[in-house]
Symmetry: C2
Subunit: 261 residues, 2 copies
């Protein structure tokens, strides 16, 4: 499983980010792959072996039915009080707490939690959306690695091509303003590239050089998969990733090695 | 300064990452722009208005002479003791402390500091390199925004083209494994894109949606500007950024709003 997959790029070493715009709304049970194939066809793009398909988690969650009708949530008194203090929706607070493993920090209306998958982010990754005229909360997929694996298997079945898949979400970060995309599900590639022990062009051993390549790919995808653009997915072509089963769990730092929990 | 710059991409909405490989070593006083222009020519690439030039900080620091000969550093007893405990180079520890504004966390051989610019990263962003057969420490550029502005001005002078410039470095992050690229210097573009108050396709107001687009561009560049690849820069083409003076300081969360200092 250590072979490298190389797609044929435009010019030598070029990496291309090809958006897959989609018009319609995703509903529970929809086949995402059929929609991505239709979108690619419309753009005149054919999938190639070695492509990376990056998909925003929101459409994955919707297709998998990981959506909750907000008016069915009855918030606890604690959630009500916190939400009232900061002008938030108490049902979203309640849901974020229910979906979380624990609260990491909670201050001035910002709630950073650890999700059941082990990700640390604001509000347990819950997004609020207007679906069918009612307010819905979109949860993270139950198992985003499995979602990525399914998309990869579906593509292989339909096209007989090896394509890596990343499911992404936008997370905030300590110390820096603004959200960036991160990989929450990975299939068909190793999410980390380890340079430790390798030598730079001067023969000097590189230290501490493990790159979170799946997160960098998710960020690259974020350039075309905008919040308002109606482009929930894209193809990244020309990046030579290391094939392998892969899992986004590799991107989670074990608590024992973390200085900021 | 609120116009959008759009480069002409390959297919509709496509973003391209064009590597600028360079063979030689950068020395203090070298003109980076001359080297980037030569590299682009060799690749058959012409700069276009609206391109984004992303440059790894290491070549910027080297060209600006932000390099220290390690054997001239005399570490304090405290630096010696910390380095000995964890098998580190005491001179690097000493330099990281001298270059820092303060230590944010220090545990098990990992030292997270705040740089004079306000960035929070490991070892004050100091890299060790073998230059001219001796061990050197490469510091962060003194003012990476100014470095980016100069590169932008040089390009404008040479080509009469408006090109945005990002100077990037690889930082670690709490909670997640692996390094990702971040923008430490910005010129000619706004580093954040603010979606707050805008509405999604269902008319639902988006909350907390400020994207750190300069960091996502730096990550995209990181896909071709590898540690070992000898590619210290690339051109990102086809991304419609918001023109403006810009500064990487916009990417630093003020201490008062930060839950993890």
């Amino acid at each position: 499983m250590r072979r490298f997959v190389v797609a044929s790029p435009g010019t030598a070493g070029e990496v291309r980010i090809l958006p897959l715009p989609m018009a319609g709304e995703i509903r529970p049970g929809d086949s995402l792959i059929e929609q991505f194939l239709a979108a690619a066809k419309k753009q005149g793009i054919r999938f190639q072996a070695g492509d990376i398909l990056v998909v925003k988690h929101k459409v994955v969650s919707k297709a998998e039915g990981a959506v909750v009708v907000l008016h069915e949530i009855v918030p606890s008194n604690a959630s009500r009080s916190w939400a009232r203090r900061f002008g938030l929706d108490a049902r979203v607070t309640e849901l974020a707490l229910r979906e979380s493993r624990r609260v990491v920090r909670r201050k001035r209306g910002v709630m950073i939690t650890e999700t059941r998958h082990g990700f640390i982010c604001a509000n347990t990754g819950i997004d609020v959306s207007n679906v069918d005229g009612g307010k819905h909360a979109v949860l993270l997929p139950q198992d985003p690695d499995r979602s990525a694996s399914r998309l990869r298997a579906d593509l292989k079945k339909r096209l007989r091509l090896d394509v890596a898949v990343i499911v992404s979400d936008s997370f905030g970060r300590p110390w820096r303003e603004g959200l960036t995309e991160v990989a929450i599900g990975v299939a068909g590639m190793r999410p980390l590239v380890d340079y430790r022990g390798k030598r730079d062009s001067h023969g000097y051993k590189l230290h501490a050089s493990v790159d979170a390549i799946a997160d960098e790919l998710a960020c690259a995808a974020g350039l075309v998969c905008g919040k308002l653009a109606g482009t929930p997915a894209c193809i990244i072509r020309g990046y030579s990733y290391r094939a392998g089963q892969g899992t986004a769990r590799e991107l989670i730092r074990p608590a024992a090695n973390d200085l900021f929990r």
